[in-house]
């Protein structure tokens, strides 16, 4: 897994690149983000059943939105991958809803606001994300499988239950258990 390590170790993080796009419309930084994230967004969408061309278009749209919204990116609040995932998910929902332009307004940035974050507080996304990767890898297979299905295959819990031939309650409780473990891995014991 070439999980973004090279680039992170090289000193410039994706968070830095994204912030540079926001601050100074840095094209080179944008190109590096594109080269890393676009093929992964494309892959993500293809797992959900999109054709390669549709997924390619969607990755382009998402990256264009990244450019447009980067000025709002605050590296203290979210890792680049969290932020870009959120944008890609929103573009996908837009596409699935194509004809109707009137979808609800959905914020193009991750959900949390800086409620308890001091402005000068350095947030180490790298450690947080690494802990999350580890936590996902340590989930029991029956929980990890359901989480992946929910994210990649855009299935509701009842669809998953029907497909896996499991009671709905079992699907929900496994997902809930998994989320609880992942939440703890992020050190988010505050909720």
């Amino acid at each position: 897994m070439s999980y973004s390590e090279e680039s992170r170790e090289a000193g410039t993080t994706f968070e830095d690149l994204l912030a540079a796009v926001g601050k100074s419309r840095d094209r080179d930084a944008f190109i590096r983000l594109f080269e890393y994230f676009a093929p992964r967004i494309k892959s993500f969408m293809m797992k959900g059943g999109m054709t390669p061309d549709a997924a390619d278009d969607l990755a382009q749209e998402a990256m264009l939105t990244v450019w447009q919204k980067a000025v709002q990116y605050d590296p203290r609040k979210a890792a680049a991958s969290t932020w870009i995932f959120t944008i890609a998910r929103n573009r996908k929902v837009d596409v699935l809803r194509k004809q109707s332009r009137q979808g609800p307004y959905v914020a193009d940035f991750p959900a949390v606001e800086d409620t308890d974050q001091r402005p000068d507080e350095y947030v180490n996304h790298k450690d947080g994300i690494r802990a999350m990767v580890h936590a996902i890898d340590s989930l029991p297979p029956e929980q990890a499988g359901l989480i992946r299905k929910a994210y990649f295959e855009e299935k509701s819990h009842s669809d998953i239950a029907a497909e896996e031939n499991l009671p709905l309650g079992t699907v929900k409780s496994r997902i809930r258990l998994a989320l609880e473990k992942l939440r703890r891995s992020m050190g988010e014991d505050r909720a």
């Binding site: 609800p104 990649f152 989320l179």
Partner: protein, 218 residues
């Protein structure tokens, strides 16, 4: 206990939102929920972080088409990007997600739009074009009651302002109450503050195939 079950239902709703599988009315509800509830935002942040990690970790890069980067760069040159933040202030008068559905440029639902729906209860219909759910903004005067009733379908009630109680609990602004099909309750608004809520209700049990057919009709 009852509260626990409701919390789980909210969590599942947030998960479905994160994975992009909600009906438009439910999505509207969740985006309003996120704007009034800090715990909901925290949960969503967790879900979005997981999504980002899964995208990096599990999605082996698929080569982009040859001209994709140059085509995006061409478009990038044409747009300078946004300058002003969109985060704004969450909360009432109306969460931003709701405003486009309910006139009033100032974000208030115009007085003329509120319709009588019972003694000291007023509603505004929220028109969600492609949804099988009925969506209403409900305003209850202080101490107003809604008599005990049974839900034919699932119903979500998000408290936007004030407070509301059923037989078991008090729900404050930012709380989301989930009623399963077939359940009953009565409601009373806070004696001092009254309340404004967004309700999204399915009036009949929805099967996926029915939903698909309805969606296909548009």
């Amino acid at each position: 206990m009852k509260r626990e079950g409701m919390h789980d239902a909210c969590e599942m709703l947030l998960m479905d939102y994160c994975c992009g599988v909600l009906d438009e009315a439910q999505e509207l509800l969740v985006s309003a929920y996120l704007s009034v509830s800090l715990p909901a935002r925290r949960q969503m942040f967790l879900l979005e972080t997981i999504g980002g990690v899964l995208m990096e970790k599990d999605c082996a890069p698929v080569l982009m088409n040859e001209d994709s980067l140059s085509s995006v760069l061409d478009r990038v040159d044409g747009c300078s990007g946004e300058t002003q933040g969109e985060s704004g202030t969450p909360g009432f008068p109306l969460p931003r997600s709701l405003r486009q559905y309910i006139a009033g440029q100032d974000g208030h639902a115009g007085e003329g739009r509120w319709r009588w729906a019972g003694f000291r209860v007023r509603v505004v219909r929220v028109h969600v074009s492609r949804s099988s759910y009925k969506t209403l903004l409900v305003r209850m005067a202080p101490g107003a009651r809604i008599a005990r009733h049974r839900h034919a379908g699932m119903e979500y009630t998000l408290v936007l302002e004030g407070a509301l109680r059923d037989e078991n609990e008090v729900y404050e602004a930012g709380d989301l109450l989930v009623m399963d099909a077939g359940t009953e309750h009565s409601l009373q608004s806070d004696a001092r503050k009254g309340c404004v809520c967004l309700t999204v209700s399915g009036s009949w049990p929805l099967s996926p195939s029915l939903l698909d057919r309805l969606m296909a009709g548009f």
